[in-house]
């Protein structure tokens, strides 16, 4: 089932700066759950913390950056992106293949 049919993904997303620690953690847990539900595994996390944006997004000048690297079959991207897109706390996200 897995193996050749999996890809290495890299995901960065920006959360609204108003979110408190608990909010960030709970959203991130929800996201990791979704990734796992889609067959993803080996999730590595990098917290970049609060960063000043290069330009304002939704009148916000800061954002909370989180990066994940994981293995997942390509069918899972749809669901993961859907979750990110429909979460109001996510200002931006970028999901990329990092194979090669």
């Amino acid at each position: 089932m897995n193996g050749a049919n999996e890809r290495q993904y890299e995901l960065v997303y920006i959360l609204r700066p108003q979110l408190d620690e608990a909010g960030i953690n709970s959203f991130d847990a929800r996201l990791c759950e979704a990734i796992t539900a889609q067959g993803g595994h080996d999730i590595a996390t990098e917290l970049w913390g609060k960063r000043t944006l290069a330009y304002p997004i939704d009148r916000q000048y800061e954002g909370y950056y989180i990066l994940h690297r994981f293995q997942m079959p390509p069918t899972g991207t749809e669901e993961v992106e859907r979750l990110l897109r429909y979460s109001e706390d996510v200002m931006r996200f970028l999901l990329m293949r990092r194979d090669e």
Binding site: V12, I14, E46, W48, R51, T52, L53, A54, Y55, P56, I57, G63, Y65, L67, R92, L94, M96
Partner: protein
């Protein structure tokens, strides 16, 4: 001549916002940002930058293609760039390939290989999506209006 010495305070002002935005984030995987070449020289010519750039866009004098070391503004900005370290997270490196208004420098200016230039452009665009780099300088600092 006196005009060139007076802008000193203002050129620091112009350089500050970029510097402020960057050092906060250095991903552990990213190498330390390499030194930026000829930065102060670029600052000094800031006032005429817009005009100059517009001229250069369609300008094809043969000597522009000749690599001039030390003098002149034509030099290889990316001579020490390795392909693998071009990454949207490595904004210290990518910002060397932006002009002061946040535009991606042309290959004529960067003088890197086509492959490297493509990657640079691609990663800069990714960084812009994530608000790591500006789309335009107007967004981060006040650019003097020219009429």
């Amino acid at each position: 001549m006196s005009e060139q010495t007076t802008p000193t305070p203002e050129m620091e002002e112009g350089a500050a916002p970029i510097a402020e935005n960057q050092p906060k984030f250095v991903p552990p995987s990213a190498p330390p940002p390499a030194p930026i070449f000829g930065d102060d020289e670029d600052e000094i010519i800031d006032e005429e930058l817009e005009e100059e750039l517009e001229e250069e866009e369609g300008f094809t004098a043969p000597e522009e293609y000749v690599e001039r070391e030390g003098s002149g503004r034509v030099r290889r900005i990316g001579s020490d760039v390795r392909y693998e370290e071009i990454d949207y997270k490595n904004i210290g490196l990518l910002s060397r390939f932006l002009d002061r208004r946040g535009r991606i420098l042309s290959r004529r200016k960067t003088r890197v290989s086509a492959k490297v230039q493509r990657k640079i452009a691609r990663e800069i665009k990714r960084a812009r999506q994530l608000a790591l780099l500006p789309y335009t300088a107007d967004q981060t600092r006040i650019v003097r209006k020219r009429k």
